[in-house]
């Protein structure tokens, strides 16, 4: 009799276990389903208008006059690319330098100070970066180089700083993942620390470093509040580094609050294009870093 109740108790526990397992499986799909729902909604809201006015005029059209139903996104696409390229020019060298110093050229104590500071850089809200850009950088550019100050250059510098934490943390991870024997072998052959970094560690950590740059790129393209504050937002292709520029993200954020009807749909279409760019970058970054995982 006692045996029987015990057995029933065990069965109950096992049944609970299966239920829990099922519940967890459902929960585990939350992230994937959120991603799917977002994709569906953005695409559903944004694509009809693209096809209505023709993909070509939408993507390659040079004019954006939403009140006259002229929706050409080309200046914003170019704007996003310029600003992102600029951000990489600033962010990649500084980010990689920090990563190398943190992994190879510093003592443990120094690392204990610098690492949290870099992490803090990631925590500062983007509006604060934008604000600092407006207060310090924009007047400086206006006085030194001329032009309105709100420009590709200003946006590139601020975004370059903002992508540093992404580049630094992922590069540090991939440099640390290089087996210590590589480092020791190189030093034993008489190479200096820098030669070791240049000729051994960098090639070995290459795919991780590339992934960090791609993810940094994604951050720069997706950044909204800082860009809106410092890029000047003129919807035309910038002729120089000192000209104002409007990115895809700014285009959405600037006009969303008052847009209605087709104008709003066109902003969602802007979102679709941004979304596609980001997903492509994510997939590429994911592929490069998983290739690294497979061949250590």
């Amino acid at each position: 009799m006692a045996m029987k109740t015990k057995k029933r108790g065990k069965n109950r526990l096992e049944r609970n276990d299966r239920l829990v397992r099922l519940a967890l499986l459902v929960i585990a799909f939350s992230a994937v389903s959120v991603l799917l729902v977002i994709t569906v909604f953005i695409v559903q809201q944004g694509t009809p208008i693209m096809f209505k006015y023709g993909l070509k005029s939408f993507l390659a059209g040079g004019n954006w006059y939403p009140s006259e139903k002229v929706f050409g996104l080309w200046p914003m696409i170019v704007g996003s690319l310029f600003v992102t390229a600029g951000a990489l020019v600033i962010g990649v060298p500084f980010g990689l330098a920090c990563a190398i110093v943190l992994t190879e050229f510093s003592s443990k104590n120094v690392r204990r100070v610098i690492k949290p500071i870099v992490e803090l850089l990631a925590g500062i809200p983007s509006v604060v970066y934008g604000f600092m850009g407006v207060i310090i950088l924009v007047p400086f550019i206006r006085q030194t180089f001329g032009g309105p100050g709100l420009s590709v250059l200003a946006a590139s510098i601020v975004l370059g700083i903002m992508i540093l934490p992404t580049i630094i943390s992922i590069s540090v991870d991939s440099l640390q993942a290089v087996p210590p024997s590589y480092r020791e072998g190189s030093i034993a052959l008489g190479a200096t620390r820098w030669q070791t970094v240049k000729m051994v560690l960098f090639p070995a950590a290459r795919s991780g470093i590339i992934a960090s740059i791609i993810l940094g790129m994604g951050r720069a393209i997706g950044e909204t509040m800082a860009t809106i504050m410092i890029a000047g937002n003129a919807a035309e292709i910038p002729r120089s580094l000192l000209a104002p520029v409007r990115t895809l993200t700014s285009n959405i954020a600037l006009e969303m609050s008052y847009a209605t009807g087709e104008h709003r749909e066109a902003l969602f279409a802007t979102g679709v294009i941004l979304f596609i760019i980001i997903m492509v970058l994510n997939t590429v970054a994911n592929a490069t870093s998983s290739r690294r995982r497979r061949q250590p």
Binding site: L24, F94, A97, V118, L120, I124, V127
Partner: protein, 279 residues
């Protein structure tokens, strides 16, 4: 050009890399000191406890602090169970395989999606389709989705760092999987999980682009989760961009920076304790 000797090159490289690192660190310290120097004089008990008056030109920022706390709280309330549940499933219930890869890929992609896209999505789904309007509910749900990947990743790492021996012992004592998870694995991983949650609170405090289109920007004191609210980050943005009041903008920014600093120090402290426990 004569090639530099390796020793010289080493010196040059080291000096160059260190300079760049110090510039990076310098930029960050400059931002923090700049905001605090101009913002701290504005701060007072009254600034923190009075509601904004005259569109924010005068008065304090109390209702925006309430807005920030309400949004973050709601977001965490939704995202934490989902995120931790996903992490438990990924670490304890599956061993690789295509299913795990799909889940992980989904989480990684979600992490890369810019906040403006979340804002657009939240606006269409919660504000218009589900008719929640500009509200704490819409904003909190949108933000929960943004925080989900961070919580999944940090919880996963925390759970993975619990030594496998703990599980083996628990199983050998006759516990079921779920008993092992709730009584052995989760308590040990808790500090790491909490660190991740605190980290995402930090992220939610600074978020602007997603909340401005979902929570609106009403300055009134929110009365329920269906009221529109303006969190500190949005308030700061509007004050600064429309030039309403620079001193109040600096004050708000200082509160934001202090909150983020506090959260970072807290996570660092928690993390170190957690790491010390398992190494």
């Amino acid at each position: 050009m004569k090639r530099l000797g390796p020793r010289v090159e080493q010196k040059v490289a080291q000096a160059g890399l260190w300079t760049m690192t110090l510039v990076t660190v310098g930029v960050l310290l400059f931002i923090i000191f700049f905001i605090l120097r101009r913002g701290l004089p504005v701060l007072s008990l009254e600034f923190l406890t009075a509601n904004p008056a005259d569109m924010g030109k005068s008065g304090g920022i109390f209702s925006t602090i309430v807005g920030t706390v309400a949004l973050s709280f709601l977001a965490i309330l939704i995202a934490a169970p989902l995120g931790v549940g996903t992490a438990i499933y990924l670490t304890e219930y599956t061993w690789g395989g295509p299913l795990t890869r799909v889940i992980r890929f989904g989480a990684e992609c979600l992490a890369g999606i810019p906040s403006i896209i979340f804002g657009l999505f939240g606006f269409i789904l919660f504000v218009t389709k589900l008719k929640f309007g500009w509200s704490i509910l819409s904003g909190g749900l949108t933000m929960a989705f943004m925080l989900l990947p961070t919580i999944i990743r940090t919880s996963e790492e925390a759970i993975k760092s619990v030594p496998p021996a703990y599980r083996t012992v628990s199983f050998s004592l006759g516990s079921t999987k779920w008993q092992t998870v709730t009584r052995v694995v989760l308590p040990s991983a808790l500090p790491g999980i909490v660190t991740g949650i605190v980290l995402s609170v930090g992220r939610s405090i600074g978020e602007t682009a997603a909340t401005i289109f979902t929570a609106g920007s009403a300055l009134r004191m929110p009365t329920s989760i269906f009221s529109s609210t303006r969190p500190m980050s949005v308030h700061f943005y509007i004050l600064a961009r429309e030039g309403i009041s620079m001193s109040n903008a600096y004050g708000t920014a200082a509160v934001l920076i202090i909150a983020i600093l506090g959260i970072n120090i807290l996570t660092y402290y928690l993390m170190n304790r957690f790491i010390r426990k398992y190494s």
